[in-house]
Symmetry: C2
Subunit: 401 residues, 2 copies
């Protein structure tokens, strides 16, 4: 069996943890499996490198930042290989060049295009554990790219797909995917299984267990993922196309406090106004989420939407600059909001989930500011200080019952 195992930065933060990971990989190897390991940079080293870069050049030229950041994973994989060899197992580290992991050219946010398997396969055939740098690729200029934060998950899935691996295990500091954040909802349950689509909604909405792009890629290539803890031997959560749990309508409650609500008030009620607003934001790469359009006073339109808190100020700035062209009366921003979402593939065949959600929040005395739904998700915007109560209310309604 060929197993791809991915470990994040905290799992390789020091010597003790490196050896802990090495031993876990060697266990699988000694059972006769072929093992490919994907690693992130150690602990906070990526942050440290970014701080160095910002100190030298606040503009942070992206190509050079990627060149710099790539040293982080290269350090991890070299040390891991040394650790495994210290334990008597043949291991070899490979960076994105050596593999070769071909990506698009976009520095800081590259996507994989093609992964060569010759070198890895050759090392596997020689019964070596192969340790690959996560998070990085090379583009058509032979320059180093990075995939953006959490990109090592994507590296693992892409390698699993390219190598036709039998399993792809994502090791993290939690025991799997939970029905809600266990720190906030003490009776949150670990899910044995979850579908790709559910996981995608969870990831997008701030569950922070798996990098979003990695789930999309897993879905595209049918790579079955297991999310599990690097600290315990608990079973973890399997992420796959179809789960057996059709009976469970809602599989998770995701909470995202990193959100701000922007309202553009008093727009002329003419066609194309909404287009203008989102076109301006799109040009600045501001990602807009939950959108609501309503009729304001004097036959004007109000358009509200959410953005991440980091992008809120930039969004406000660009909208204020264009206030006249947009015919807006004024623009408001409220960072004191949070998104709470219930997610479940079973929603597609179960009516009444939305009304149950609203009932739960009503009973908890929580005001709903905006609503957005997909086939497998219902999201409500609430005041940030109500978010944890809303999560708990939804959890009690859907998971506990």
């Amino acid at each position: 069996m060929l197993i791809v195992k991915k470990f994040g930065g905290t799992s390789v933060a020091d010597k003790e943890r490196i050896f802990n990971v090495a031993k876990r990989c060697i266990e699988d190897y000694n059972k006769g499996n072929d093992v490919v390991v994907v690693l992130s940079a150690m602990g906070k080293s990526t942050d440290d490198l970014l701080a160095m870069a910002a100190d030298i050049n606040p503009d942070m030229p992206k190509r050079e930042v990627d060149m710099l950041l790539a040293t982080g994973e290269q350090t991890s994989v070299a040390l891991m290989s040394m650790a495994m060899r210290a334990l008597g197992v043949p291991a070899i580290s490979l960076n994105a060049f050596q593999v070769a992991m071909h990506s698009t050219s976009t520095y800081g946010n590259a996507k994989f295009k093609r992964i060569d398997t010759d070198r890895i396969q050759h090392e596997i055939d020689n019964r070596r554990i192969v340790i690959v740098t996560g998070f990085q690729g090379i583009n058509k200029y032979d320059d180093i790219t990075t995939l953006g934060r959490g990109g090592s998950d994507t590296t693992a899935v892409a390698l699993a797909a390219a190598l036709h691996a039998d399993a792809c295990e994502i090791y993290t500091d939690v025991e799997g995917v939970f029905t809600a954040d266990p720190r906030k909802v003490p009776n949150a349950k670990k899910l044995p299984e979850i579908t790709y689509d559910e996981m995608l909604e969870m990831a997008t909405l701030g569950a922070q267990v798996l990098h979003n792009r990695s789930v999309e890629l897993a879905k595209k290539y049918g790579v079955q993922l297991v999310v599990r803890s690097s600290l315990t031997t608990a079973e973890g959560t399997v992420v796959k196309e179809v789960t057996k749990m059709e009976s469970m309508v809602v599989n998770g409650i995701a909470t995202d406090k990193n959100t701000a609500r922007i309202a553009v008030i008093g727009l002329q009620n003419t066609p194309g106004v909404a287009f203008k607003v989102f076109n301006i934001l799109g040009k600045k790469n501001i990602n807009v989420d939950v959108i609501l359009q309503s009729i304001g006073r004097d036959n004007t339109k109000d358009i509200s939407f959410t953005v991440s808190e980091e992008q809120a100020d930039e969004a406000m700035e660009i909208l204020e600059e264009n206030k006249k062209a947009l015919t807006a009366d004024h623009i408001e921003c409220d960072k004191n909001v949070a998104k709470v979402s219930v997610i479940g593939a079973g929603m597609q065949t179960n009516a009444g989930v939305a009304s149950k959600m609203f009932e739960a929040l009503y009973n908890a005395g929580i005001n709903i500011r905006m609503i957005s739904t997909s086939e497998i998700r219902i999201t409500v915007l609430v005041d940030e200080d109500c978010a944890d109560r809303a999560t708990k209310a939804a959890h009690d309604m859907f998971i506990e019952d």
Copy 2:
């Protein structure tokens, strides 16, 4: 004019020094020159990485050590590129893969085989300052190799040769090559010029200004070097094939205290005994220097030679193990010795240098333990505590007069 400039680790140890180097390179660039910069790892970072490796795996698997160490220069070049861009100059960093700097396969001690110039030339043609990682190469397996300590000098010379550069400047923390160590001989003079051969003798004998292999390579490809300070704008020393200074017989006095004398006493006076001694040492990669063979008591032979202090214990061990096979009576080791050498291309056409050297040491009351000569060098072994006095005596005799 195409200039290759190499800066060592201390020259890029922190933000301030990085910008200092950046500005020096930009000065040349702004005069219309094409500039290629070779950098070592920042400050003590190579030592830090080696310590990490030794902590994880005391055996230090060489391939993985090179993979690890290579991150040091990659960090330097990325930060330098950011610094130059912060100063408004287009710059690009390249590692050994990107260049590509093809080397032999020997990890930790690789030699360059071939350097591709397409990528660098392309960047130069676009009027970019190109910043290349020193010290590292890639071998035929696409694995990262390193050239051994001080290898960045070699990278600079190899690049200058491959690119047919008009100048190759090695920046260091001294102002050039001196007639003796200025810390020991206060009236040591900076040499405006020195030949490759003289420089080679100086480097081998512990002058520590230029990496030996870089001088050999410069001689082979006729790359004219300039050794100069990264801290001042003083002129530096030119290293070339033939200098104009035929009149000056001795160009430098080199002192090497990192030496130990080993004596193998009472060997049978039969053919092949010397071969056996040095064959045993050669197999263990122990480098032997000044050799002396003399007749001992009872028609036996004594063989003495010097090794570096680091290798002395290993040499003693292997000789003791083979004492019987060597027919040796006993083996002695004395670490309390030093080599003092006078070096000058002019010696070849000037008789009497040796006798003047012995005269100088005699006048200073210094006992000579062993003597070794080449065409352009006379080396004497003296007690270590006499070394500085011997250096000064030779300097007074040859340089001051």
